[in-house]
Amino acid sequence: MTIQTPVALAPAQRALSVLGGDLTERSLRLHLEGLSGVDAVGLEQRAADLGTRSIKTSSKAWALDRIIELIDLTTLEGADTPGKVRSLVAKALTPDASDVTTPRVAAVCVYGDMVPYAVAALGSAHANGGPNGINVAAVATAFPSGRASLRVKLADTADAVAAGADEIDMVIDRGAFLSGRYGQVFDDIVAVKDACRRDNGTHAHLKVILETGELNTYDNVRRASWLAILAGGDFIKTSTGKVAPAATLPVTLLMLEVVRDWHRLTGEHIGVKPAGGIRTSKDAIKYLVTVAETAGEQWLTPSLFRFGASSLLNDVLLQRQKIKTGHYSGPDYVTID
């Protein structure tokens, strides 16, 4: 057996303060593998319990509006065109033309090369990372597989930020993570976070996609969540939406628990974004309940919780129309994506 010299990692602020001054691959591994294991049965039971709440009338109306405000309206297809992005932005600005009181979504989420079209289409409604208006989120780092060299991933990120993206959704290297090369995943995230920096000193928000569908165990999800937070992620996101299973309630609950623990430890707020597979208002309301019961109600704000979704918005609009008109609506009365 050879004794390896400690490999020093990139000096990320959070990791330095939590793990102590001597930040190495070894200290990171000791920390992540020292996290307590997840009680899978208990977690799934808790998630199922949270999904049984009955939300009615005025609470439901509030929840539907809040869901819309938390949506990252997404189009991530190989067949995306500037026209498709413009129509997505139009929908983000006016979700329901028959009811102008409908709130706007939090952001539109597109591939990096579509960012300029999204920014142009938003015009004065572009929030530029602020609370008023709609942000532009871009997926980067060779989304969805993440199989590219770090140089390419950083160029991908810097390109999207330069084009005006306010939020970057990066994917972690699942291959490296599952092989136990935590240090490599850590350094990647730190480097991408650095690439999010703009010339004026501000930086684009970084969402770290764990792709929980490929991590196999809840223990891995907990470790990856800690890893992403320690490396500097502003948000942890479940999935790319390209791998099944995508977001599930137990996985989101687990990530919310990590975020809650981090808040207790440091006082810092980290966001959570379940993405993929949330298609109905009923499902989305279960997530709202889970957020409120786990991290707390202050997390039900666009800066701390998002839904990555495309078809969810139409279902929410149908439910809103039902509440407003008193009769069931149909897909003919919302726009087709």
Binding site: Q321, H327, Y328, S329, D332, Y333
Partner: protein
């Protein structure tokens, strides 16, 4: 050893499955003499909503099948109905208090009606469609196409009434949500058991039992329902239903008799007219 009576549980038929009512409600079905027959599910508006979702999902596939294929599927149901004749006769005699002979006649009429409509599946387009004469070098062709989802209030005459409103609606490729007779729902659920073992895709015919007065207004105003057949709605406030349906421009058939006629098929179709050049020079 004495045989223990096993009362049957009658449930709804939605999307090819037999769910209980979402509301958990049931009601007693009684014989003409007032004796208890069975518990049937009492559908709520949410069951009606679920049924519409199932019908919408099934509609493109059913309409996309060839007329010949739909005809074959419908013939097959008639065969299965014939095989269950004794069960239907028993249910009709107990719920309607008629003689076995009269019940037998009703079942035969229902099967004949079903076969009659099945025959139209690959023929009604030729009768209702047309090659229109136009002044120009064009073919101008009108063809009927299914309107979509038809919500039906079935007449109280259990099996014959139900078959006479459901068969014509689905022949052209529509899918249906039908509210069965409240007092005599047994043959409706037995028909559902026939459908479940036939080749009809799940969701093409959805059967709700319970109060038509309670459910029909939700279906009449539902924006994803394309037509409303009020044949069995004589005893309801059917003018209100018609008004509710007007908001979304549904095709509405007002209460009346349910004799077999081509008009019942064509009434739930939309006419599409296309132009095509006669030659390319």
């Amino acid at each position: 050893m004495t045989h223990l009576a096993v009362p049957k549980t009658y449930k709804l038929y939605i999307g090819g499955k037999f769910p209980r009512s979402e509301s958990g409600r049931t009601y007693e079905v009684v014989a003409r003499d007032g004796s208890f027959l069975a518990n049937a599910a009492k559908a709520s508006r949410k069951d009606a909503r679920d049924a519409v979702v199932a019908a919408r999902a099934a509609q493109p596939g059913w309409a996309g099948a060839t007329g010949y294929n739909r005809g074959q599927v419908l013939y097959r149901i008639a065969e299965l109905l014939e095989g269950r004749r004794a069960q239907f006769v028993l249910e009709i005699t107990s719920t309607e208090g008629v003689t076995a002979a009269a019940a037998g006649k009703q079942v035969d009429a229902a099967i004949d009606t079903w076969v009659w409509y099945a025959g139209w599946a690959d023929k009604y387009v030729q009768v209702a469609g047309n090659a229109n004469a136009v002044s120009g070098p064009y073919f101008n062709i009108s063809v009927p196409e299914p309107t979509g989802i038809v919500a039906i209030v079935a007449p109280p005459d259990s099996l014959l009434g139900l078959v006479s409103v459901v068969a014509p609606a689905i022949v052209s490729g529509n899918t249906v949500v039908v509210i069965a007779s409240e007092t005599a729902p047994l043959s409706a659920i037995s028909l559902a058991e026939v459908l479940a073992t036939s080749d009809v895709p799940g969701g093409v015919i959805n059967i709700l039992t319970g109060s038509a007065a309670e459910i029909a207004p939700w279906l009449a105003s539902h924006a994803d329902v394309n037509a409303l057949d009020l044949t069995g709605a004589e005893s309801l406030e059917w003018v209100d239903l018609q008004i509710a349906a007007a908001d979304t421009l549904k095709r509405v058939r007002t209460p009346g008799d349910f004799g077999a006629s081509l008009d019942r098929i064509v009434g739930f179709t939309e006419t599409k007219t296309v132009w095509h050049t006669k030659s390319l020079i």
